[in-house]
Amino acid sequence: MLCRVCRRLPAPAVTLPSFLVMAVFTQLTRMRPWRWFICRKQFLSSFGRHGSIRRNMASDRAASQATRFDFLVIGGGSGGLAGARRASELGAATAVIESHKLGGTCVNVGCVPKKVMWNAAVHAEYLHDHSDYGFDTGNVRFSWETLKAKRDAYVSHLNRIYRNNLDKAKIQTIQGHARFTNDPEPTVEVDGRKYTAPHILIATGGLPSVLSDAEIPGANLGITSDGFFELETLPKRTVIVGAGYIAVEMAGILSTLGSKTSLIIRQTGVLRNFDSLISANCTKELQNTGIDLWKNSQVKSVCKSEKGLEVTIVTKDPEKKNDEEKTSTIQEVDCLLWAIGRQPNISGLNIGAMGVDTDERGHIIVDEFQNTSRPGIYAVGDVCGKALLTPVAIAAGRKLAHRLFEGKKDSKLDYSCIPTVVFSHPPIGTVGLTEEEAIKSRGKENVKIYKTSFTPMYHAITSRKSQCIMKLVCVGKEEKVVGLHMQGLGCDEMLQGFSVAIKMGATKADFDKTIAIHPTSSEEFVTMR
């Protein structure tokens, strides 16, 4: 999965000389007089914006009077905010346009609330194990309402922190939907007001993909991961469609918290773009934890009855050519969740008119420096469709800010060896190439695999068990470690350090040289044979 990222086109940087000159100047003068000038201008213009006359101006005049910034960021999510804040620190007059809540997917409908839910589910697992460790917990009930209230409060708290951070950094927050105008200079309109800057960053992120009723009758009776975070009660009966990490995480959370959960996948395993060991193991773990897995299956239709949704599913094993297609129905479903992928959030932006190229799925095409095909317009994060991860967007946003406003012309994010964790039960950690990718790129004879699997010591005294599996993908005579894959308790926290070492080019010998920390699960990586 990650190597696809490494193989991105090595396009040269498209940097206008004038930007460079400005950036260097910026650095030399440490920004102050220039910034003062901008701020003053910004102040005056924002003062002027309160006048109602301007709204009725002809668009060409308005363009010339559009509020000017050094850096205009569309999208107040991880990438946009990080880029904006760094640019502002470097002296650029910056504004962020956000139509929804600050923090984007990660804070509002992604990593943060997801991990809170995962933590709650981990507590459910702990509660199973309590008696084995000597605690008598008696009757335990779960209140989704309590959890949701706490989670929402925490998310709101983060929204406020983000707002405060922007205010402190003197970054203007513009609330509303951005749309590129037809002005000759790239200009954005929000609620009838125009804004422009020599550098505009698109960081609008993505959205869960949805199916139309035309594609699957009744599809819109279901929700997506966004809707999952709005659920007011724990669904009794859940059907999740999809085999990606979001489907896996949602299924794990809902099932562990007590919802009877079915997972509908088109083929025979989940996480099919992960290393085959992980894919197979995760599929097995899902079933072990009581998730009703429907392989080779697709939803055909959904309809509503008095008792909930009826989800009709067709199943056909492609290997058994003679078998008939089987149609089944899951009754009384109170939550149908589509987790069939994500798509770029570009609707209404009017980027087509800007000469910003997109791929067939609508992702904005950028080079390694985050330049789009239109000079002065950049994109970072999920909207580009590569490595849809918060830290990637943050790092890319910051690198861009350093390039634009500090004159660091080589500042760019290295998309190789990006570590990823899936908060499944137990969690998955992966960095670098899968075995399959390594064989494909280096040849089978040059790839050496080290594997281990064991029961973590945590389970030594519990009746509930889960395995920990680990794999190192090494290449060449020197056995350079190009991939590390694992699933098991604690793998979420194990991966980061190893990802530093792997990025440094660690070999198997380096793993062997490292002294173990006992007793941990992670020590198995440095004692593998």
């Binding site: 000597g134 706490k150 604690g490």
Partner: protein
């Protein structure tokens, strides 16, 4: 340093003279019963003997356990301190204690748990001991599989090629070997000159085999053993006090040590700082009355406890070995065996490793690794020496603390205060937020060289899962990681470990190191 280098060359010289490269995987026992006799069936001994056997050597392991003073355990199985009275039971009970906290957190996460929740020591101990026994058995089976002779003998040295084994029944057996490795480890010490200490107190050896909850406990000492024991006792709901003579976690970074004990204090562990016990008396009620002196005020205090746990250090198990007769050089102060870099003692053919070696870290993984490397050298398979630098470790206190490399103090001492840069961060684990837990002690410190490529000198982390977090970083450290290696690595969101690669505030800057937002 010269000495180290000299002994390194000497050992090579020695190799050259004594060993012409032997044919692979063939026993050279010849006139001796064994190629290798290992005294001590702990982590180091087992690793060494199995590795040697793998290279075709004829190997015997002698393992024998003296009961503790208090006799809480009469005997234990193969695996030594780690398996029986160390790492393994410690971490399992630590896990139990974490559940105490998890229960409080679970309520905030929407779990409604009927109060009160009680912890049953016996249930936990049964699980722990069953696991320990299964490991004992596993080690036995492994020795058998690898054709290592296991002898439940108490071993002592007769000469540089001869070991005397004594069974429990008093039967003597003489074994001869080309090489002998002493890996008898250590046992907890009792203090001297404190009336009642030995009669009424227990040590960590007893702690892990208590059939009944120790109840209200006084832990004397502030080593990692003391703090770990006090931490898990507090965690399972026992009234626990730690009595500290001077400082906690000597040898560790003292800022980190302070965070560990601060957390324990908020967690409910009581601390009697700068206090030394004077006497222990058993009252007619059965309670233990401890009298101590506050060294700051000079005042005398008293309280009663159900148990008094001495965690005042560990002593090497050398007495019964007959080392003095052979002239094996010991460190007079510590009683540990003085070793060269190749684990050789002052007497030819006699080697030692693990906790019994002077200046060696008292850690299972170092003993294992050193044991394997020694076996390979003795079998003529390699000349690689054990590198005792860059040893990571984790203290499993209620708030875990993991580290590798130098403490800030040591880095200052070696490089000068102005030549080091400390990146640090106070972070809040996401799991603490909804649980409304105080995260004031969750901290990361990366000590780097200040100039040049900012090579990392030491890395310190307090927080959940510190052991699992630290291993990978220890490897980066082993590879010579610099600050920019950290900052160039993309984080994993949302985890605690990502905070390590996100550190960007230096101590020199004086800026607030609290992490805000994602």
């Amino acid at each position: 340093r010269l000495l180290v280098v000299a002994s390194f060359f000497l050992s090579f010289f020695f190799w050259g003279v004594c060993y012409s490269p032997p044919p692979l995987c063939i026993s050279r026992a010849g006139k001796y019963d064994y190629d290798l006799v290992v005294i001590g069936g702990g982590s180091g001994g087992l690793a060494c003997s199995k590795e040697a056997a793998q290279f075709g050597q004829k190997v015997a392991v002698l393992d024998y356990v003296d009961p503790t003073v208090k006799g809480k355990i009469k005997i234990w199985g193969l695996g030594g301190t780690c398996v029986n009275v160390g790492c393994i039971p410690k971490k399992l009970i630590h896990q139990a204690a974490l559940f105490g906290t998890a229960l409080k957190d679970a309520k905030k996460y929407g779990w409604q748990i009927s109060e009160p929740v009680c912890h049953d020591w016996a249930t936990m101990m049964e699980g722990v001991q069953n696991h320990v026994r299964s490991l004992n058995w596993g080690h036995r089976v492994q020795l058998q599989d690898k054709k290592v002779k296991y002898l439940n003998f108490k071993g002592s040295l007769v000469d540089e090629h001869t070991v005397k084994g004594l069974t429990k029944a008093g039967k003597e057996t003489i074994l001869t070997a080309k090489n002998i490795v002493i890996v008898t480890g250590g046992r907890p010490k009792y203090p001297t000159n404190i009336p009642g200490a030995v009669e009424h107190g227990i040590t960590s050896d007893d702690m892990f085999w208590l059939k009944k909850s120790p109840g209200k406990t006084l832990v004397v000492g502030a080593s990692y053993v003391a703090l770990e024991c006090a931490g898990f006792l507090t965690g399972i709901g026992l009234d626990t006090t730690v009595m500290v003579r001077s400082i906690a976690l000597r040898g560790f970074d003292q800022q980190m040590a302070g965070l560990v004990t601060d957390y324990m204090e908020t967690y409910g562990t009581k601390f009697a700082w700068k206090c030394v016990p004077k006497r222990v008396d058993k009252l007619s009620s059965g309670a233990l009355q401890v009298t101590w002196t506050d060294t700051q005020t000079g005042g005398e205090h008293q309280d009663t406890y159900d148990s008094v746990l001495w965690a005042v250090g560990r002593a090497p198990e050398t007495k019964a070995l007959g080392l003095d007769k052979l002239g094996v050089k010991l460190n007079q102060e510590t009683g540990k065996i003085v070793l060269a870099t190749d684990e050789s003692t002052s007497v030819p053919n006699i080697y030692a490793l693990g906790d019994i070696g002077e200046g060696r870290p008292e850690l299972t993984p170092t003993a294992i690794k050193a044991g394997k490397l020694l076996a390979r050298r003795l079998a003529g398979q390699s000349a690689e020496l054990m590198n005792y630098d860059n040893v990571p470790t984790t203290v499993f206190t209620p708030l875990e603390y993991g580290c590798v490399g130098l403490s800030e103090e040591e880095a200052e001492k070696r490089h000068g205060k102005d030549n080091i840069e400390v990146y640090h961060a106070f972070y809040k684990p996401l799991e603490f937020t909804v649980a409304e837990r105080d995260a004031s002690q969750c901290y990361i410190k990366v000590v780097c060289k200040r100039f040049g490529d900012q090579t990392i000198l030491g890395l310190h982390f307090t927080g959940p899962n510190a052991g699992e977090v630290m291993q990978g970083f220890a490897m980066g450290f082993q590879c010579g990681a610099t600050y920019s290696h950290l900052s160039q690595t993309v984080g994993i969101h949302p985890t605690c470990a990502e905070e390590v690669v996100k550190v960007n505030i230096t101590k020199h800057s004086g800026l607030d190191a609290t992490v805000t937002g994602c």
